[in-house]
Symmetry: none
Subunit: 413 residues, 2 copies
């Protein structure tokens, strides 16, 4: 029996990574290809060019999700979908997201090279703005695709540079004029996303493939505390509306809310800024971020729901506002998808283990729509969201092979 | 008898304030004219231009303190000095510091306009980097002048923008090429600094002049907490060396140390930054500032001495270092200088009261060198270190008149 994985081409896959890495490269081994910038558009146009050259149809929806389609033989069958994102962090690497897109595209090419017909159509997808750096929240494309929010509800988001999401989407769609317009959302037979692990476990255990069992729930908030500026030497503490002091009380309240003797809660304050930021001025404003994750939906939602009330209780004389950057429910991938990935890996003699994902991915949004899963390949020391992010050509090819056989099985089931 | 105060010109003094306010203006009614920036240099150059136009000699020392000198008739007599600073907070106002410089310059012009000779020379001075925002510690110029630290010990301080203090001093000195070079330090007969109150008392009590009795002790620290970066979604809390979490515990400990039912302690955390500052990365480093003040030397020193131990106790798994930006002991101004200021105000029928200063000033550094004092004028609602800082032309002129007669008395005593 012909396996699709036999037609995965390690060099072609690697060369495509290196070609995409040109768009937004920083000169330090990484890229700054934030969502819906000219660099992002150039990377998409390059991929669309490769697709057209291979004779694949390219389709694009109102969230600028770009699909590359290879037809199946059964009329009107639901699609088997695979992909990830091309946008990156400001000091990002060449594999986070990119690998999932190019592995899916490699599967289409392998099917074509092998002359292998599938019952169901197979599509590779580029999701828009997964990282959420330039426009919050992230996972814009998969959110719209999954019907979580219509694009009209998100279109007025603004980047720090002033650009409007809706305008940038239109500009991006216009970059691929040969792509057929399609409405977001689609009947799906299955979804598998390939990704670098972004953690150290596969490398540490000498394994090539992770079959992902699920993704913990993740929520991200921006908290703004508003007080009144004043001179640090003259205003009595009892008369201050010190945004820093209120922010500190809020943080203590949140640490209390998030206390977990079982050490499963992940809770991080990653950004914290006082304005105007002068040593001898009482801050009139403090802005900080919260990142909260938990794998159990009941715990995740109970604690996430309590955050705003804790902020208000602890704000003292200051005002406080809580902006939800994103809130993604925990995903548990169906056991049969995990098993399919494990089986495909074993059939290729690739060492594999089942493992959860700590990081969030577009697959979290797609999981409610169809049987979904993810596969991981190792990255050096688990480093990601960094220009030091590295992955091996052989590991990427191995991941693409497992993806190929898994998607083929889904497309013919 | 001719009084110098009769020649103080309210409109000229106000117009000069408005001219200086052009340098670094923010568009919101205030200025961002941080020390040793191009805006600071432009303001100094403008003042030097006015001085040269009036025929005064301009002198500059190695700390870029700029002196404007009007000779006395007694050969070699010690100088009567008055001045303040032109640098501001990032969102500063148009009067803090500026008033003290321009009032002193107005006295020189009034002496000139009145054709009044003095026994001792009178100099107006611009002290360098009083605010200490861009380069720590503040009061750079008066510290060097007072011999507390030679400029060489401070020259390697770096601004957040990477600039080196020593280089910026040279660049600033070069901006006034017609100024005569002089070594910092000078025999002084007396020093009086005029300033806006930066507090609400004069306004609340309907008074025009505050004769300052002393300045509370003030210390400023930069605390660096060092942990380890990691992915917010993958590292268990028990294994983290989260610099943010340790910093938060340290802050709680410090709030405890500084608790004061009498509400005399002033304690401010004005700057607080996490690195790398990404919402989904555990901070590997947090840097924040403390500002602590108290008028009683025993209390001031006991609490300041305890700060580092509290930081170490609360640092948990992280490292912590405490850098003292400055630590200025409480100052008490001599009663005879306070009395001279009160007398000058009464002679001008200006309502006056003796009062302490909550804010630190260059006068604190000069006080050990000669009989020193300060006078305050009201500012709107006591607001300072803010673009909302406001003062009335008539109050500024009143302050300049009291300064004029006080300096003249010192110069002829």
């Amino acid at each position: 029996m012909t396996r699709v994985s036999d037609f995965v081409d390690e060099k072609r896959l690697w060369d495509r990574h290196m070609a995409i890495a040109e768009h937004g490269k920083t000169g330090n081994g990484g890229v700054n290809r934030q969502a819906l910038t000219d660099h992002d558009r150039a990377a998409r146009a390059q991929l669309a060019g490769w697709a057209h050259a291979r004779g694949f149809e390219v389709l694009i929806d109102e969230a600028a999700n770009m699909h590359i389609r290879r037809e199946g033989w059964e009329q009107g069958a639901p699609v088997v979908l695979s992909g990830s994102h091309l946008d990156t962090q400001p000091t990002g690497g060449n594999f986070d997201g990119v690998f999932g897109v190019l592995a899916a595209f490699e599967v289409l090419e392998a099917l074509e090279d092998g002359g292998i017909r599938t019952r169901r159509p197979v599509e590779a997808v580029v999701w828009t703005n997964e990282e959420g750096v330039r426009f919050a929240p992230g996972c814009t494309g998969s959110m719209v695709f999954a019907g979580v929010a219509p694009v009209g509800d998100l279109a007025d988001a603004r980047a720090p540079d002033g650009a409007r999401l809706g305008d940038e989407l239109e500009k991006t769609i216009a970059t691929t004029p040969h792509a057929k317009r399609r409405k977001a959302g689609l009947p799906l037979a299955g979804y598998v996303e390939a990704h670098i692990e972004q953690g150290p476990r596969l490398e540490a255990e000498g394994l090539t493939i992770g079959a992902v069992t699920g993704i913990q729930g993740g929520a991200s908030y921006e908290i703004t505390v508003t007080g009144e500026e004043g001179h640090a030497g003259t205003v009595p503490l009892s008369l201050r509306r010190d945004a820093m002091r209120s922010a500190m009380a809020i943080v203590q309240g949140l640490y209390g809310l998030m206390a977990d003797p079982d050490d499963i809660v992940k809770f991080t304050i990653g950004r914290f800024q006082a304005h105007p930021g002068s040593p001898n001025t009482i801050p009139g404003k403090v802005v900080f971020t919260l990142d909260f994750r938990h794998p159990d939906a009941a715990v995740f939602n109970a604690r996430a729901d309590a955050i705003e009330a804790v902020c208000r209780e602890q704000a003292g004389p200051c005002g406080v506002s809580v902006f939800t950057r994103h809130r993604n429910q925990p995903s548990v991938f169906p056991g049969e998808v995990v098993a399919m990935i494990e089986q495909a890996a074993r059939d290729l003699d690739l060492p594999v283990m089942a493992m959860p994902s700590g990081a969030a991915h577009d697959a979290q949004l797609i999981a409610p729509l169809c049987p979904s899963g993810m596969l991981f390949v190792p990255c050096l020391k688990g480093i990601s969201h960094s220009e030091s992010e590295r992955a091996q050509p052989a590991d990427l090819a191995a991941g693409a092979r497992v993806l190929a056989d898994t998607l083929a099985a889904m497309a013919n089931a």
